[in-house]
Structure formats: C-alpha cells, structure tokens
Amino acid sequence: MSLISPWRADFPGILALDGEGQTYLDSAATAQKPQAMLDALLGYYAGGAANVHRAQHLPGERATRAFESSRDQAARWLNAPDSAQILFTRSATEAFNLLAYGLEHELQAGEQIVISALEHHANLLPWQQLAQRRNLELVVLPLDAAGLIDLEQAAGLIGPRTRVLALSQLSNVLGCWQPLAELLALGKARGALTVVDGAQGVVHGRHDVEALGCDFYVCSSHKLYGPDGVGLLYGRKPALQRLRHWQFGGEMVRVADYQSAEFRAAPLGFEAGTPPIAGVIALGASLDYLAALDAAAVAAHEAALHAQLLAGLRARAGIRLLGAPRVALASFVIEDVHNADLAHLLTEQGIAVRAGHHCAMPLLKSLGLAGAIRVSLGLYNDGADLERFFAALDQALELLR
C-alpha cells in the first residue's frame, strides 16, 4: 500500500503543482503552505493593514497584538522561556549576519570562530567575513565518513581561544542530526558562545532550545510551512545582552537626537524598520496549524517516506549517497552520469528536485563533487510522489546510459 499523507489536502500549493504535473520534492529549499497560513495572510491585508509598535489607533493596535502573538507562539514552539527572547529577522541568513555584526565588538585578533565543514553558506560566510574584518581564525571541524562532525577531532580543535561555536543541527545536504549535545558542551566548557543553525532541524520534530542549551538558535519561517521573508533568532537572555545593535532606524530607537541615540533592548532593538508584519502574523497561523497536528503521526509518516526514498535509491545500481541521511532528505550522485544531465531529464519529466551545490559549495568540493541531486520531503508528500520520482529517474538513466 502506498503511503498517503493525511495532511496533503491542507496544502493548496502541493495540490496545484500536482495538478500541473509537477512532483514537488524540494521542501528543504522552501515548503508549501497550509491553507490556514494563506487565510491569515489574506485576512490581515483584507481586514486592514497597519504598522506595528507605532500607532495608538485601533488597526495599529490589532496588528501589533497579532504580531506579538506570533512571537509568543514562536517562543512556545521552541520552548523559549520568554517571548522577548525571539527576534524576527528577514531570513535565517539575516539572523546569522545580525550575530556576526552584533558580536563583532567582542572579538579580538587571533581568537577563533569554529564552524563545521558542512555549514550552509548562511552559517559560513557571515563568520568568514567577520574573521577577515577582525583578523580572527576560522576553524572548520571535519566530518567523519557518515557526515557527522567528528567529535574526537572537535575536542582537539575547540580550544581556549574559541569564542564562537556555530553549528548546523541538521545538514541541508547530508540529512543527519549532528551530535549537538556533545559539541555544545565542548564549546561551553571553553566559554564560547554557541550558535545553532536550526533552519532544517526545526522542520522535523519539536526542539527545545532550553534543553539544547545553546546561546542562539536560528531558523527560518519559509521552510517551516510559513511565509518567506521571516527569520527567527532565539537568544538566551545573557547572550542577547551581549549583542550590539546593527541596523538602525524605525522603532528600534528609544531616544534619538541629531548627534546621538539610545536604542531599545531585544527584541525590538534588533528589528529596525517596518518588520515583515503580514509574514510574521501568517507564520503564527502556520505554527497554530502545526501545533494541532499529531506530532507522532507526522514523524512516523516522514520516517516511512524517508525509508522509501532510501530503499529506492539503494536498489539502483551506481548511486552514491552523500553521507548517511537519517531524515527529511537524501542527496546523491550517479556513477558516470553528469548531475546536470540528470537534473535536465528529471525537470523535463516534472520532477522538482534540487540539483547543484545546495549553498554548501565547500562541502561539495570536499566530497570531490561539483554538485549533487537532492530529494527532500515535506509532511504533505505521498509515497506516490516518490514512485513518480523513481520512474522518472529510471527513464532518465535509460536515456543516458
């Protein structure tokens, strides 16, 4: 019996694509949205837009309340003790840039920022550029054969000069959970600030930032079935207090004069300009929707889909999996077949998978690859989506071989 997602009908986008003959298997890039989110987006605009945290009038008050209620929901979703610990940014990428600029003043030449070899460009480039600005050392933790950060080597590389440790929870290429508990403990023992890239991890299962014990946790709304244009940054209170303001203007200021100004504390002090109001409100609707699902049923469905994906890939000759994917996605290359050719032929057949370097160019290079094909799953995918993918893959290989 083919796997059926009981939630598929809640996502008009997946149904529309299906109707168009497109099999969407690229949810790790961005996810389709539930009807509840679309309703919230339309509801906000159609009901009367207003700016937040500015006006005393009724529409402004209503928008501010809805906006702040999304912050409460995000805090609950991540188990942050206080909503004031959730900062809204424009993307996960912007949250990393906020951190890299906000922490810059603390770092002295010769100190280290430690990341891992599998980081997405979003959790690499802001640190790399900070290291260049400040003459810091960027240390890259190596991976083992399965694609996990090598703990033994990490223990040797995370040292007394390590000031920031920034690691992905779940790689967008390799699809495996990193041993964060051990790694974060190594960082904390050295007094480093710890940053977790949860952009992929947050989409699968519930995560508890308190239990994780990181100083900062970054994720993105658009991968979590919410709208694009919204990123989330959670910070522990003492860690948030160490951030310097980085973007200026709007309601982030407390007192402004021509020659000087004083700024608000987090979160508002880090939300310069008009924030993505509609997006934040709509994210609240997505979180409401997700919170009402049977989490165990979602996890079981995703695990069954993933098992089907892996079994299908393993059953075909010449396929090399990248790492040992455990959840959500699998990336692969095929012996003697150029990725670009395979991507071309899958696209021709209406299969929407991602081909290329997946914004992790150094990782692909270190694996000796110019690119790979990635199949990624959302809770709305059915077994039939994978069956269509495999049929298309077989067709493509037949043509190419």
């Binding site: 990725n339 670009a340 071309h344 081909a355 110019a370 690119g371 043509l399 190419l400």
Partner: protein, 139 residues
C-alpha cells in the same frame, strides 16, 4: 537574412519533435557532433563560470565572421550549445548583436532551458559570447 544551413537543419529536426524524450535524444545526438576543443583551448581563459558543469568557449573572427567552438562535460548542455552554434556561427558582429537567441531556442521548443533560474550554463555562455563580440567591436 537567411538561416545558416545548420540552423535550418536544427529547426527541421527539433520542430517535429513530439516529446521530451525525443528532444533529449536529439540534443544528445547534436552534442556528439560538436567538434572537440583542443586540449590547450580548455584553459582557464576560455572557461565559462556560472555553470554547474564545466564549459569552455573559444571564439574568433574570421574575415569579419564569428566562429565559436565550445566544450562541456554535460551531454544535454553540449546539445544545447550545438544548436546555439548552429545559429550563430558565421554571423558578423553586427548580426550577432541583433539576434534574438531566446526566440531561437523557443523555435526549437527549448525556451525553458534559458529561464533565469536555470544554472545549466546556457545563459552564462550567451553572456560570454556577447562579451567576446562586444570586445571585438571596440576599436
């Protein structure tokens, strides 16, 4: 302006292509027909960046007419490059500057290969071709 012979051939072949499979086979056949680049032409200076596959493009003006030669390690891209060269080789700089290549690919049923989200390299090759032709125009 009449079409080059190769272009007429491409139009005839791709014009009657009923489906994606035949089109793909045809592209691969056209790709096989591309003359190989000499080893020394596969150099960094001829490398076209912005493609997921490796692509080299060499071009020279012969008596006022452009002759381009390309190579790529991806087979379908090679086919796309072959039908591109079929259209542009032999053109003068002025003709090259005027030609609507999006329309050319559309006539072959290959319009989607030029979409901006494609990183297949075709767009980068066109860009490089224009740069080469543009540089040659500068006195």
């Amino acid at each position: 302006m009449s079409l080059p012979v190769d272009a007429e051939q491409a139009l005839a072949a791709f014009g009657q292509c009923p489906g994606w499979e035949q089109r793909a086979r045809l592209l691969m056949q056209w790709g096989e027909r591309l003359p190989a680049l000499r080893e020394e032409e596969r150099c960094e200076a001829n490398r076209v960046h912005g493609c997921e596959s490796q692509v080299w493009l060499a071009g020279e003006l012969q008596n006022g007419h452009w002759q381009f030669r390309v190579a790529s390690d991806a087979r379908l891209l090679r086919g796309l490059l072959a039908v591109l060269l079929a259209r542009v080789n032999g053109l003068t700089g002025a003709q090259l500057a005027e030609i609507d290549l999006a329309d050319w690919f559309a006539q072959l049923g290959l319009a989607r290969q030029l979409s901006p989200s494609r990183s297949n390299g075709l767009n980068a090759v066109l860009q490089r071709m224009r740069e080469l032709a543009g540089d040659a125009q500068v006195p």
